[in-house]
C-alpha cells in the first residue's frame, strides 16, 4: 500500500498520520457549485483506524469536502470537483471506478437521522441485500444482528425488529443509521454532523460508539461542536471560507493551535 502513495508523509505531518497507515489522500482539490468556489486547493491525509474531525464555521466547505469523498456531490448537477482524491491509492474520480461500488465501500451517516420508513430489520438488511452479501435468510439475519450489536442498538430493539425504524427515538434512529452503514462492511464511515439533532445523552452514546468503531474503520466526522471534535477525534482539520486552514493532532489543535484563525474560531472569537 505504501508503495502506491507517491508523496511520503512529511515529518511536519500530525503524529497520528505518521503512526497509522494512510487511507484517504486528497491533493489540490477544488470544488465548485456552478460559479461558487466552495473548496479551494485542499490537500489532506486522513489516516486509517482513527477518527478525523472537520470543524469550521457554517459554509466553510467541510461538508462539501466530506461529500466529495463518497461522490455524493455527483447528485448535484452544478457541482464540479477537480484535483485528486485517493482511497488506498486509487483515484475515486477515475472514470473506470464505479460510483455505486465506491459508496458501498464508504458508509455515510447524515445530520438528521434518516432511517427508511420500514422496519428496523429492513433498514439494516437493505444494504447487504442489494449487494448480495447474504446467501440465505439466516445469513442476512446474522449480518443484521451483528451490525445492530456493533452499533450498540441490538439490546434495545431485539424484541421489536419488525417495528418501524421511524418509531425509535432520535438517538436510536441515528444508531440505526450507523448500523445500516456498517452492515455493508465499509472501509470508511463519513459522518455529517451526526449528533446535531440529538440530546446530550444520545450524543454521548454515539460518541462512545464512534470511539469503539474507530478500531476497525477510518472515520471522518464533520461537527459543529468543538468539544465533540476534541472528544472523539485524533486528527482535526479546521476549514474556513473554503480553505483548509490547519490540520493537526486533536490534542494540539485544541490546546495550542498554530494558526490565529483556528485559535479565534475554537476560542469563540469569530465575528
Amino acid at each position: 500500500m505504501d508503495t502506491m502513495i507517491k508523496t511520503p508523509v512529511a515529518d511536519s505531518a500530525p503524529r497520528i498520520a505518521r503512526e497509522r497507515p494512510l487511507k484517504i489522500k486528497a491533493r489540490n482539490v477544488d470544488v465548485y457549485y456552478g460559479e461558487k468556489h466552495a473548496i479551494n486547493d485542499l490537500s489532506i491525509d486522513i489516516p486509517d483506524s482513527a477518527v478525523s474531525a472537520f470543524i469550521g464555521p457554517s459554509g466553510c466547505g467541510k461538508s462539501t469536502f466530506l461529500r466529495s469523498i463518497n461522490r455524493m456531490n455527483d447528485t448535484i448537477p452544478s457541482c464540479r470537483v477537480t484535483g485528486n482524491i485517493e482511497i488506498d491509492g486509487r483515484d475515486i474520480y477515475d472514470r473506470g471506478l464505479d460510483v455505486v461500488q465506491l459508496r458501498a465501500r464508504i458508509g455515510m451517516v447524515f445530520q438528521k437521522p434518516n432511517p427508511f420508513p420500514k422496519s428496523i430489520y429492513e433498514n439494516v438488511a437493505y444494504g447487504p441485500r442489494i449487494h448480495g452479501f447474504a446467501k440465505n435468510k439466516t445469513d442476512l439475519e446474522e449480518i443484521v444482528v451483528t451490525s445492530l450489536k456493533k452499533a450498540g442498538l441490538f439490546e434495545e430493539v431485539k424484541d421489536r425488529l419488525d417495528h418501524s425504524g421511524t418509531s425509535l427515538s432520535g438517538g436510536q434512529q441515528q444508531r440505526l443509521c450507523i448500523a445500516r452503514a456498517i452492515a455493508v462492511n465499509p472501509e470508511v464511515i463519513l459522518m455529517d454532523e451526526p449528533c446535531s439533532a440529538l440530546d446530550p445523552i444520545a450524543t454521548a452514546r454515539i460518541e462512545e460508539l464512534i470511539d469503539e468503531l474507530r478500531q476497525n474503520f477510518c472515520i471522518v466526522i464533520v461537527t459543529h461542536s468543538m468539544q465533540q471534535a476534541a472528544r472523539v477525534s485524533q486528527l482535526t482539520a479546521f476549514f474556513h471560507l473554503g480553505n483548509l486552514v490547519e490540520v493537526g493532532d486533536t490534542d494540539d489543535i485544541f490546546t495550542a493551535p498554530k494558526d490565529k484563525r483556528t485559535q479565534d474560531y475554537i476560542t469563540g472569537r469569530f465575528g
Binding site: M226, Q227, A230, I253, F254, T255, A256, P257, T262, Q263, D264, I266, T267, G268, R269, F270, G271
Partner: protein, 238 residues
C-alpha cells in the same frame, strides 16, 4: 487578541487576571515587608505580615472557584484554557510565596535577639534578589512577555548560587560555635525560604512561557542549588 463573541467570557477572563494581579501585589508587598522586618529586626512589621497572609489565602480560594466556574460555563479552548489553567497554577505559587513570606516574618522573631548583624546581611541580600525575581515575573505575566519570563527563569541560578554560599557559611558558623546552631538554623530555613520563593517565581515563568507558546518549557531548569547533594564530609575536608 480580538474579543470573544460572548462578552461575559472576556469579563470572566479579565476578572481572573485582576484577582491574580491583586494576589501578586499582596505577595510582593508581604515579601518586601518580611525582608524589611528581617533586616531591621522589626517584630511589629513581622507580626503585620503574619496577620495579612490570610488575605492571600482567601484570594487564592476565590480565584480557584472563579476559574472552575469559568471552565464549567465556557468550556474554554486553546489559549483561553491555558490562561485559566495558568492562572490557577500561578495563584497557587503566589499563595505558597505568601506562606513563605509569612514563615520568614515568623523567623525574624527568633533571629532578632541572638545573631550578629553580619550574618543577616547575606540573607537580606538573598531576599532582595528573590523579591526582584518575583517582581519581574509578575511584570512578565501582566504584559505576557515571554522573553522577560525566560530571563527570570534563567536568573534563578543566581539565587541558587547565593543560597549555596550562605548554606556553606552558616554550616561553618555552626561547626565553629555550637551555641550558634539554634539561630543559624533559623537563618538557614529563612535562606531556604527565599530559595523556594525563587523556585516559585521560576514556576510562574514556566507557566507564562506555556501560556504564550502553548508548549511546556523543554530545557532543563538551571539548578545550581547543590546543597541537597552536599555531603558534610566534603565540608569537613575544607
Amino acid at each position: 487578541m480580538s474579543d470573544h463573541i460572548v462578552k461575559a467570557y472576556d469579563e470572566d477572563l479579565a476578572n481572573l487576571k485582576t484577582m491574580l494581579a491583586q494576589m501578586g501585589g499582596l505577595a510582593e508587598d508581604h515579601l518586601a515587608k518580611a525582608i524589611e522586618a528581617l533586616a531591621k529586626r522589626d517584630t511589629k512589621l513581622a507580626d503585620y505580615v503574619i496577620g495579612q497572609d490570610e488575605k492571600i489565602d482567601a484570594l487564592e480560594l476565590q480565584l480557584e472557584e472563579r476559574a472552575i466556574l469559568t471552565i464549567a460555563k465556557r468550556q474554554p479552548m486553546a489559549r483561553d484554557l491555558r490562561e485559566i489553567m495558568v492562572a490557577i497554577r500561578i495563584a497557587s505559587d503566589l499563595e505558597r510565596i505568601g506562606d513563605l513570606a509569612k514563615n520568614i516574618a515568623k523567623r525574624s522573631h527568633a533571629i532578632s535577639e541572638a545573631l550578629p548583624r553580619k550574618l543577616a546581611t547575606g540573607l537580606t541580600r538573598m531576599g532582595r534578589l528573590s523579591l526582584e525575581q518575583l517582581k519581574d515575573v509578575l511584570d512578565a505575566y501582566t504584559t505576557t512577555d515571554d522573553a522577560k519570563a525566560l530571563e527570570v527563569w534563567r536568573n534563578d541560578g543566581e539565587l541558587d548560587a547565593l543560597y549555596n554560599s550562605i548554606f556553606r557559611e552558616l554550616l561553618t558558623y555552626m561547626m565553629e560555635d555550637p551555641r550558634m546552631i539554634g539561630p543559624c538554623t533559623h537563618l538557614l530555613f529563612g535562606a531556604k525560604n527565599f530559595e523556594r520563593i525563587g523556585d516559585h517565581a521560576t514556576n510562574i515563568a514556566e507557566n507564562i512561557h506555556y501560556l504564550v507558546s502553548g508548549r511546556p518549557m523543554r530545557e532543563e531548569r538551571p539548578k545550581k542549588d547543590t546543597t541537597s547533594t552536599t555531603a558534610f564530609d566534603s565540608l569537613n575536608e575544607r
